[in-house]
């Protein structure tokens, strides 16, 4: 089967063209040996079946990042290359185009975002450009699908002009010539979006914009999450699902073992979804009714921020500040992802160049950036007593994040690479692409969380029945009771916290703890150890030595902070 590769700079609408060309028959996977993701799909062109591959975005074929290395390797295996070019930014994009034309593979150029050239005051002479490049050039607009039929129709005309290899300087000179001959710019006034672009990286105004965006994001996540719980999921579990498990409970009540595994303990003779701790009760209720709503809300907001193009601006704004803790501004992006789930956050640290930086960011994320599941449970547990206690836990985690950053910067050696990023223009989000990503992330959460929770709850119940957990609790009781001031049963929560932090925090619920104990419990649990999924990714990304170091830092910090809180509060 013929392989058609979509190649282009980041932010040129490549993925939108890809989803328009391939529809729903798409599979995304990591490139072997890397965490760089690419997607492939199939379609018909005329009578022929072809494979369409969305190659990771690249600025240059002389690779300066992992994604670009992957792009270069993939291009070697392609039959036809569709070079997706941002027509509103011809100059920068042609650098990659010229490099592609030197590779000897047949190329067609898709002059994308064509629909925006007119109101941006850009006139491009397509025929002249085609003449100068020596390959077909087709204007397209991925969002509306404009020009894609013509693009497919001209795939057969793809040519390999076999330009000789040149230096970067010569290439830029040639680009200057091409742009001067094929592009005319008309003067025009700034649009509203463009003024907003300037405001969001303004040395003063930018911080107000950032504060506003972050506050609004948290507000939306809270409102959407709480409404889904209050009006949809909790009512569903209480009125529709509860009668069903009540039946199961009655049927199995004679069999102690089965009843305790499926339903768990009855509280005042009734099922309590939060405390009963059975497979059909807590193990389903917590991930689906308490955590999923916030996951949905978080990924909805994050997807929009990503699509609009706001995140790089936040990275730029915070670059100066982040340097103080040994990181550059781009680390804001994995850190924000960590507020959703630490697993993709650690994977995203791959974009960072230095090993030192990856270690610091990964450790900071797994220790002091609570994932949305954990946050949901902290809010669920402490929120009853007042949001100020929840805010206190966040504040403690933030202080730990800052302090540890300073300490690790001082203690580790290595270069601190500088920031270098393109600031993409603001674009309205593309609904279809947004929904695809949103769906993938939400199902990803369910696929990852549900089995772990179900197996975890079953295992814990079995261990409990065998008395193993009691002896473990007795063994570690001195530390837990003296240092942290928690009852020894809280050890179970810590152990479960290794599987899933949300369930671990949930296990504090039936212990009848005071507010102080709940604060200490949830803070230490958040910091103590990565959950099993995060642990696996950390091990893969950092290697054994750094993982041991990171976990040492985590255990030590959580005990110190927990102990200090126990004395101070």
């Amino acid at each position: 089967m013929k392989r058609i590769l979509l190649v282009g700079n980041p932010n040129v609408g490549k993925s939108v063209i890809f989803s328009n060309l391939t529809g729903v028959n798409v599979a995304c996977s990591n490139y072997p040996g890397t965490t760089v993701e690419y997607c492939a799909g199939r379609r018909r062109v005329g009578d022929e079946k072809v494979e369409v591959i969305d190659v990771p975005g690249a600025y240059s074929l002389e690779p300066t990042s992992k994604a670009e290395e992957v792009a270069v390797e993939m291009i070697e295996g392609g039959d036809v290359i569709v070079d997706v070019v941002d027509a509103t930014n011809l100059e920068r994009n042609l650098f990659l185009t010229l490099q592609l034309l030197e590779r000897g593979k047949p190329v067609v150029v898709a002059l994308n975002i064509w629909d925006e050239t007119r109101h941006k005051g850009i006139d491009i002479d397509v025929d002249e450009l085609e003449e100068m490049l020596g390959v077909p050039v087709v204007p397209t607009a991925g969002r509306s699908g404009y020009g894609l039929d013509r693009l497919l129709a001209r795939l057969g005309e793809a040519k390999a002009p076999g330009r000789r290899k040149t230096t970067d300087d010569e290439r830029w000179k040639l680009i200057g010539k091409i742009v001067a001959r094929t592009q005319k710019l008309r003067h025009r006034h700034h649009t509203f979006l463009e003024s907003l672009e300037d405001a969001s990286i303004h040395p003063v105004g930018g911080f107000f914009v950032a504060a506003g965006v972050i506050a609004l994001s948290f507000f939306i996540v809270r409102v959407v999450g709480e409404s889904l719980i209050g009006y949809v999921l909790d009512p569903f579990f209480q009125t529709v699902y509860l009668p069903l498990v009540d039946v199961v409970s009655e049927q199995t009540v004679s069999n102690d073992f089965l009843h305790s595994i499926l339903i768990g303990n009855l509280v005042d003779g009734r099922i309590d979804f939060l405390q009963s701790f059975g497979l059909l009760t807590t193990a389903l209720y917590v991930p689906v009714a308490m955590v999923l709503p916030y996951v949905v809300a978080f990924y909805f907001v994050l997807g929009i921020l990503e699509d609009i193009g706001y995140l790089p601006r936040l990275a730029i704004l915070l670059d100066g500040f982040m340097h103080k803790i040994g990181l550059h501004g781009y680390t804001v992006i994995p850190t924000l992802l960590g507020l959703g789930c630490n697993v993709p956050a650690l994977l995203a640290t791959r974009i960072l160049d230095s090993k030192r930086e990856r270690f610091i960011v990964a450790t900071l994320i797994s220790i002091a950036v609570p994932c949305v599941s954990l946050q949901a449970m902290i809010v669920g547990l402490l929120g009853h007593y007042g949001m100020r206690y929840v805010a206190f836990v966040y504040a403690v985690l933030f202080i730990v994040w800052l302090a540890l950053g300073f300490i690790m910067k001082a203690l580790t050696r290595g270069i601190l690479p500088a920031l270098l990023i393109e600031i993409p223009p603001y674009r309205p989000p593309h609904l279809h692409a947004l929904l695809v990503k949103f769906r993938m992330r939400t199902f990803g959460f369910l696929k990852e969380a549900l089995p772990v929770v179900l197996i975890g709850v079953a295992v814990i119940n079995l261990l409990y029945a065998m008395g193993v957990l009691d002896s473990m609790a007795n063994l570690t009781a001195p530390v837990v009771t003296r240092v942290l001031g928690l009852p020894k049963e809280a050890v179970l929560a810590v152990i479960v916290g290794f599987l899933r932090k949300d369930i671990g925090v949930g296990m504090l619920a039936p212990l009848g703890l005071s507010v102080k104990q709940l604060i200490i419990g949830s803070t230490t649990l958040a910091m103590f150890f990565p959950c099993v999924a995060t642990f696996v990714v950390m091990f893969k990304e950092l290697g054994p030595a750094d993982t041991v170091k990171a976990i040492g830092v985590m255990v030590a910090t959580s005990l110190i902070v927990g102990g200090v809180l126990n004395v101070l509060l």
């Binding site: 920068r92 920031l419 990023i421």
Partner: protein
């Protein structure tokens, strides 16, 4: 007299003269259009933070450390 990017005045334009540093640095900058002979415009700078440039029709943010490695001949007037 060439100056470095961080010394440029906000709103001024200039031509890149050279990039100090290894091949990796030069390649990275070049792929963003910051290559000897190219015209750039400084849009803004955040204190202690990155310099924001207009290169062609794109905006690029360059960390302070890197900005100090790019030498520019500033246009007069």
């Amino acid at each position: 007299m060439p100056i470095t990017l961080d010394q440029m005045k906000k709103g001024s334009k200039g031509r890149v003269v050279s990039v100090v540093g290894g091949r990796g640095v030069a390649l990275k900058l070049s792929a963003q259009g910051i290559s000897p002979g190219m015209t750039i415009e400084k849009i803004s700078a955040l204190r202690g933070g990155p310099v924001v440039l207009r290169v062609g029709r794109t905006r690029v943010a360059i960390g302070l450390g890197l900005a100090r490695k790019v030498l520019v001949e500033v246009d007069e007037g």
